[in-house]
Every structure is written in C-alpha cells, then in structure tokens.
Symmetry: C2
Subunit: 282 residues, 2 copies
DNA sequence: AGAAAAAATGAAATTTTATTTCATAATTTT
DNA sequence: AAAATTATGAAATAAAATTTCATTTTTTCT
C-alpha cells in the first residue's frame, strides 16, 4: 500500500507529536525525502526519536527505510485512474481524462480475466464447427470486430446484431458450435435468452460480460471483463474497449494454438489487401 | 530518467571497480535498496568510497540519495510498452502482453493528438447538418461505433462500410455536411477517393488516420492517431482501439459543447433501454 | 621500453546521521 | 489525588556515509 495513504489512515492512532510529523510529511512529501531526520524533527518541532518512533509505527525499519517507502510512493506518479470529465474541461483536459480512464479500465479488466477461462475458450474456439458472435448496441461492434478477425482465420464465423437473427441462429445451433455472447451489463433480456437457447441446443456458450450477471449464469464459460462504470456521459465507453482487447486475446490464442504455418496464411490474407492500397514510399 | 537505464547507458564511462558496483546493482536492484554502503561494497568486492564515487558519477548526492532514486525507479513498475507475443507464451503471458501493448498504444495515440484539431472537429460536428462515418475492415467497426454514439445525440448520422454506398453518399454531400473518414493506414484507395469526392462537394472532411498519409492530405481536418505498428499477427489491433478512444473524445466534446440540458436528454435515452434489461438487485 | 603524469582505489579518520537509553513530563486510570 | 501508563526529548551510543590521503594501477609521453 502507498505509504502516504497509510499515514492518512493511521492518523488517529498516532500520538500528538507523531501527528505533527505526519502533517509535515503529508504537506510536502517531496521535501521530506531529501531531509535528514534532524531536519524533519526541527520542521515538525519535535525531537528526533519521535520521528524514529513514527517511522516504526508505520512498519518501516527506521527513518531511512521510511524515506525509501515514501520515495516509492511518490514515484508512482499518476497511475491511470478514472477521472471524470468536467463541464469546464478544455479539449486537452477531457482528451487526457478519457484516454487515461480507458487505460485504467484496461488495467482493471486485465485483472478480472482468468487465464484458465481464456485457455478453455481458445480450446473450444479452435475446435468449433461454427462460431457466432452476438451483441447489441455497443457490444454489437465488438461482435462485428470479432467476426472481422476470425474471418481471416478461414473458419465459419458469423455475427448478428439483430435480435431475431440471433434467436434463429441460436435455435439452429448444435453440438460443436460455439456461440459468443457479448454484453457489458449482462442484463439485456433478449441476449440472456439467446444464450440460454443456444445452450439448450448443445452449443458451447462463451459469455463476455461482467462477473455475476444473469448472462454469466447461462454460459458454459464466462470471460469476465470488469471495468469501472461508464457513467460519465451515459454511454458505453471503456467497456467495449476492454471487450475488444479480449477479442484480440482470443484471436491471438487461436493463432498460437494453430501453429506457425497457420500464421503464414494470415500474412497472405494481409498481403492480398495490398493492391487496394496506395504504395508506401519509404 | 530512470536511474537503472542511466546506469546501463553510462556503463562504459565507468571505471573497472565502478562497473562492478553497477553490475551488482543491475542484477538485483531490489536488494540494493535495503543494503548499506558497506554491504554493497562487500558484495561488489570493492571499497566503500568507490560506491560513493559511483553514486556521484550518476549525478546523485551520495549513496542515500542514490538509493532514493533507485527506489523510485523500481516503484515505477512496468511502464506500458509494446511487448510482442511469442510462440510459446502461456495464456497469462499473451493476455498481459496484449493488454499492455494496447495501453502503450493509447498513450502514444494520446500524444499524437492535437487539442486544437479536436476543438475544430467538435466545432464542425456540432454545427453539421448531417454526419457520415466511413471506414472499411477494422475501421468499419469504429465508424459503426461512432454512429451508435452520435445517434444518441439525436443528430442525422449514418455510417457505411461499403465502398459503393460511401461513394454515393460522398457525391451527394453538400456544404454543412461532415464526413468522417477512418483509416489506420490512410492508404486505402477507395477511402482516399471518397474523402476527395466529399471535399469536392463542399463537405467538411475529418480524417482519423496516421500522420502524413495520402488520406491525411485530402482532409479538411486531420485527427492523427499514431500507434506503433500492429505487426504481431498481421491484423489490426491497437489502431482501432485508439480510434475508438478518439470517438469517445469527440462524442464527449460534442456533449460538453451542447451543454447540460442536452446531457439530461442522454440520460433519458439510456433510461429508455431499461425495460429491455433484467433488474439489478442491489 | 621506461619514466612521468594521471587516474583509480582503498584504509583510516572524520563527519554526518540515525538509534538507543533513560530520565522526565504528560496523560490516563483507578 | 495518587498510581500507572504512555509520550517525549536530551544525551549517549551506534551505525552509516563521506572525506582525506597514501598507495596502486593505468595511461601518456618521450
């Protein structure tokens, strides 16, 4: 844990003099890491042993060790955090906030993913007779993207962003088929039903959704993508990006499982697009 | 600069004994931050003053100060970098690599964006009579996503991922229309043509592409989204994610420009979806 | 190659910094 | 209000880092 947070937390377990030390440190931690124990004691108007005791109370070995912890906390700079866009933000500000929040979400999502489930998903995907990706709204584009990727693998793949098509497709699915259902909320009724229908028809259902949602309960494998809420502007933002990163992971797992010869084919697919592009001069 | 990198850089300006110190530090920096100068000297089999001189040569005030720098470098953790997926990676490894590369790309993309251009883009978007988003392949999903977002704003918006439709739409465009053309490579012939057609017909053309591409040259406003190459598996990965983040930025700018009353409407749009979802228990 | 100069190195001394000890002061409990 | 507990700092001690300086090693220049 960050030592600065720790100081704040334990502020009330400290004695009066120790609190003075804490206050000096909190008010200007970057100065403190360059101060000797004597200098800090003087600034806080207490004695050196008090500083020492203060350090020990925070589970450090002594003053130099404490400074080390402090230095590390300061170094952590701005780890990406969700920063909310504010009414009066300049373009620069909201751009930074959005990019940083997105990065923070990716970090969170990565933690919520379980490599075991990814492995199992890659297993079933590589062995599938047919792969279908279903999503609605913002998740539709994720399904769309997945189709675009898996299509390059030369496997039977479809995507639907239409409730009825999804339903028909789910009903017609069979053993050996894999249905990937994508929904951030995991509460979209029609998608939950589609998942359940596909499962009844013996398809393997992979859910890309948040942990513990109704959709998660209907799936054979759940790939949990937990991100902080997309509350800023009432529209999905980070969630779909984290889902796309997961699609990349699945696609990568797929190609790795298929071996190097398969990857040569991918290169051919890419090269086939060349004639549609303007040449690069460099 | 990271002190570990600095040590590596200056390795050949160091004397023989100092290099021994450097090697011990590089091989196990986390041990060193808990060692005294004597302990380190002993481990490197040199004298204490040598350690001290080593520290000074790296522009630190002395050994304790050096340790502080070292601690900070260690705390910085792994700044996100592009790490390439390897044939023998485990699921955990390639998942981490993909997420981290994505984050690294977002960081890069954010730097390549110019807030002035964003501001101008938001300007023209808020004043547009009609907005069209065009993309092909992986960029098609970005266009698709943009439509999804801007549709909520209750403005006339279309998206096309079909060459002919894009062409027809471009030809029919007029003053006051905004055409957003999305292409990572910026070299897709048909898209460059579409951009040029739209421009000839007096539409404002916003290009979401890499700096200095043929597409960029045809646009009224270029939003440069530079990411490191998506070379890993011959398919677009980070590029489309960075583009999506940019769409979020534009959508956010749009709503901020429109004011708070407009945002209440967005909430209504979101709430309208509620009945299609299973209730949340919490 | 060999002498002179320069640079590098470490032992010992010194200085700085941190910690411990212990007496006293402040606070809490009874 | 006395006793017990806890907090505090002065002084002593210990530890760590730095400086000084003599010695060794390396480099440069005949």
């Amino acid at each position: 844990m960050n030592i600065l947070e720790k100081i704040t937390n334990e502020l009330d377990t400290l004695s009066k003099s120790e609190r003075k030390v804490a206050e000096v440190i909190l008010s200007s931690p970057s100065t403190v890491i360059h101060s000797s124990i004597a200098a800090l004691a003087k600034q806080a108007k207490i004695s050196e042993p008090t500083v020492n005791r203060f350090c020990r109370r925070l589970d450090t070995k002594g003053y130099p060790d404490f400074k080390l912890h402090l230095a590390q906390s300061l170094a952590n700079g701005t780890p990406y955090v969700n920063r909310h866009v504010d009414e009066n933000d300049t373009a620069d500000e909201y751009t930074s906030k959005i990019f940083e929040s997105t990065m923070a979400s990716l970090e969170l999502a990565r933690k919520s993913l379980n490599s075991n489930d990814i492995n199992r998903s890659v297993d079933v995907l590589t062995q599938a007779n047919k792969i279908s990706f279903f999503g609605l709204g913002a998740s539709a584009i994720v399904a769309h993207d997945a189709q675009n990727k898996f299509f390059r693998f030369n496997v039977p793949v479809v995507y639907f962003d239409d409730i009825l098509m999804q339903r028909m497709s789910a009903i017609n699915s069979r053993q050996g088929d894999v249905v990937v259902v994508i929904s951030h909320t995991g509460r979209t009724k029609s998608l939950v039903e589609v998942a359940s229908l596909a499962k009844e028809n013996d398809a393997t259902v992979i859910g890309i959704t948040t942990t513990g949602t109704p959709l998660a309960k209907e799936c054979s494998i759940v790939l949990s993508v937990d991100v902080s809420e997309d509350t800023d502007l009432y529209m999905p933002m980070s969630s779909r990006i984290a889902q796309l990163a997961l699609i990349d992971v699945l696609a990568t797992g797929f190609t790795l499982r298929r071996g190097s010869k398969f990857r040569d084919n991918l290169k051919k697919v890419k090269d086939s697009l060349r004639s549609s592009r303007f040449e690069r001069k460099d």
